[in-house]
């Protein structure tokens, strides 16, 4: 195989990995701060795709901008969803039971969102058909789809913004305090429940923004989440459950794995590479690349 052909696969994987990375950061944030595994993450992304579609078709707003415009409404939605549902599930005070309970709650939420969208908006796939979605930048022998390139860049910017937020701002530090030691944070006057709501809101807003970026080149339909939710989980576990930089790296790696798997396996088995990687990480190094070894039982 020619070097340029290999390079093309790598580039394709990187571009798509950037968007996976943004999706996964939201999931990692939610897990890291509130220890909730949000099964519905992919469905919020799907809703973000639809909202961006609406912006594009009804208001003529470019999807890249539309993706950023997803952030405020989805942040609020995240706060509301947390307050209405997640905050009520305590699992009887047992942290293990609580995690299971929240997993099932978010699974239920995922079903409701997907199926309600199917009922209300119909399952026919739609596309934004942005002009740059079917054009590519030619870089030497390599072709970089324009929409994906813009999305990749935007994803990086958003990820960097999140990182700065968490490490430099007071709110970000309060969030991390609430995650590390809820009791001590409480003594410091931090309302842990509010922090959880904020974390959930940010996590949802991020994945909705990722959805908006994805909508610039991917068909939009109610079931789109199912393709991505497992990729997100794999990326987050690979990076280390709860680690934001880890999730970012995980997303990029998964994009690459997905693309490079095609050098060895036929198209239909593309995701097998991803799932096998998932299992290997879980068995060999469950805390992932950057995660702390959590005390589990």
């Amino acid at each position: 195989m020619a070097a340029s052909e290999l390079a093309q696969y790598v580039v394709t994987g990187l571009l798509v990995g950037g968007v996976y990375a943004l999706m996964s950061i939201g999931l990692a944030l939610i897990f890291g701060i509130m220890r909730v595994v949000n099964f519905a993450q992919g469905d919020f992304m799907m809703l973000g795709m639809y909202l961006t579609f609406y912006y594009a078709v009804a208001l003529g707003i470019d999807p890249l901008l539309g993706a950023l415009l997803n952030i405020p409404p989805f942040f609020v939605l995240g706060l509301l969803v947390h307050r209405a549902f997640l905050a009520r599930v305590t699992g009887g005070g047992d942290p293990n039971r609580e995690m299971d309970a929240q997993l099932i709650l978010t699974l239920g939420l995922s079903l409701v969102i997907t199926n309600a969208t199917t009922m209300i908006l119909s399952p026919m796939p739609r596309s934004i058909n942005a002009p740059y979605a079917s054009k590519a930048f030619a870089v030497g022998p390599l072709l970089l789809n324009q929409a994906r390139t813009y999305s990749f860049a935007t994803a990086l910017l958003l990820a960097a913004a999140v990182y700065v937020f968490l490490t430099r701002t007071d709110l970000g530090k309060a969030l991390r305090a609430a995650a590390d030691d809820p009791e001590a944070a409480g003594y410091q006057g931090i309302n842990v429940r509010t922090m959880h709501g904020v974390a959930f809101g940010i996590g949802i807003a991020l994945v909705a923004a990722a959805g908006g970026l994805l909508a610039s080149y991917h068909p939009i339909e109610p079931n789109v989440a199912v393709n991505f939710i497992v990729l997100m989980f794999v990326a987050v576990v690979l990076g280390g459950l709860g680690s934001i930089p880890g999730a970012f790296v995980g997303g990029i790696v998964i994009g690459l794995v997905q693309s490079l798997t095609l050098l060895l396996l036929p198209l239909q088995l593309q995701n097998v590479g991803v799932f096998v990687a998932f299992l290997i990480v879980l068995y060999v190094r469950p805390q992932g690349l950057f995660g702390r070894r959590a005390r589990t039982v």
Partner: protein, 405 residues
């Protein structure tokens, strides 16, 4: 029994008896009911919608011309059920519609994979079933109630290959490399199989790319990357639904991959492509289908277009139109609305006149013991200037075959 166990038992019994109240009991009626199980939601919805249009047009014609005379002018009623986007949904829809009321015959379910499931139900419930689906195995199961009016995939593969090789020779651009790009639904599978296994090799053509996906197609990039690297002269194309297909065609354009596209199926000739891909990019794309408006069918096409507002008529409404008329003929010959009697009539039928026969080329409807229409010949359709035309067989073509630049 403890209080708990008693209340549990009571709940159990009550809940299980509830359906008897909820589900409507079958009501005897004079009308002849035809079931249409087709995808009405999801990615194949367009095809189902077109089928429904064809069925409705035929029903309106029949009913306005006096209904089924042998049954005292009984009218036909359509009972539709949504096959959705999965085999389970299709099977479930078939079961629902066939057990709710007395259905005399059924049509559907467009996608060969769905049809396979739906006919399993129809066979077990002994309701005759007409389908336009192509997959060979639809009529290779020893079923008695399934009737397939289209030429089968393997036959289509042979004829399509012969045609493109001939064209290549004529234009002095012989085909050396071919690619197979399509999903893993039954019609595509049975189309690609003979090509892959013997036909291409027999013509000295090398298979350079074999890309199959499970629908929905997530991303066309990797496939097009492969085509770009291998540069086939022709791509045999079986995407079966518009959303998957348009992704693929747009990606081909983006990566500037130039090749001959030979599709299999009528999903490649719906009007939406014009807006999505652009007239110029569609020109020359061919596909092999079971039916398309032929020379002499202008009146029918005009009626359809006026009635529905569609820009042109294609296989799906045509075949369903023919199927409804065929069932009408069978009911007339059987002098009964009973499904078993209609099945007998269909098995023996030999039509050479009437709307059903004239719509389906070459104009005679007769089924062999497997349920396959004898003498069915594939039609090749080509996009020219924003509309698809029948180009082969030349005897009934509406435009001559245009060469691809």
């Amino acid at each position: 029994m403890s209080r708990l166990t008693r209340s549990l038992a009571l709940t159990l019994v009550l809940v299980l008896l509830a359906p008897m109240v909820a589900v409507p009991v079958a009501v005897a009626a004079e009308d002849v009911k035809i079931a249409l199980v087709a995808p009405l939601s999801g990615r194949w919805a367009r095809q189902g919608q077109l089928k429904k249009m064809g069925a409705e047009m035929a029903i309106e014609e029949i009913n306005s011309q006096g209904g089924i005379k042998a049954l005292g002018g009984a009218k036909i009623e359509l009972r539709e059920a949504d096959a959705g986007d999965s085999v389970e949904k299709a099977v479930s829809a078939a079961q629902r519609v066939l057990t709710r009321e007395k259905i005399s015959a059924g049509i559907g379910s467009w996608l060969s994979s769905f049809t396979l499931g739906v006919t399993e139900v129809a066979e077990r419930l002994q309701v005759p079933w007409l389908t336009l689906s192509y997959a060979d195995n639809i009529t290779e199961r020893g079923f008695k109630y399934t009737f397939q009016t289209s030429p089968v995939s393997s036959l289509q593969a042979e004829q399509a290959l012969d045609l493109v090789v001939e064209i290549g020779k004529k234009n002095n651009r012989p085909l050396k490399k071919a690619a197979l790009v399509g999903d893993n639904t039954a019609a595509t599978v049975f189309f690609f199989k003979p090509l892959r296994e013997k036909l291409l090799a027999a013509k000295g053509i090398e298979l350079v790319a074999d890309e199959v996906w499970t629908p929905p197609l997530a991303d066309a990039t990797s496939i097009v990357q492969k085509l770009r690297a291998t540069q086939p002269d022709i791509v045999f194309y079986g995407a079966t639904n518009f959303p998957d297909s348009v992704q693929m065609l747009q990606k081909l354009k983006e990566f500037n991959v130039k090749t001959i596209i030979q599709g299999v199926g009528a999903w490649l000739v719906t009007p939406e492509y014009v807006k999505a891909i652009g007239k110029e990019n569609l020109d020359g794309i061919q596909t092999v289908v079971a039916a398309h408006p032929l020379k002499g069918q202008e009146a029918l096409v005009k009626k359809f277009v006026e009635r529905t507002g569609e820009p042109f008529m294609t296989q799906d409404p045509l075949c369903t139109y023919a199927h409804v008329w065929l069932i009408k003929e069978a009911a007339e010959q059987a002098k009964s609305a009973d499904p078993k009697a209609i099945r007998e009539a269909l098995a023996k039928i030999d039509l050479t006149a009437g709307p059903a026969a004239t719509t389906l080329y070459p104009g005679r409807i007769r089924f062999d013991e497997r349920g396959r229409r004898v003498g069915a010949i594939p039609i090749i359709v080509q996009w020219q200037n924003g509309e698809p035309y029948t180009v082969v067989p030349t005897a009934v073509s509406t435009r001559p075959l245009a060469s691809v630049k």
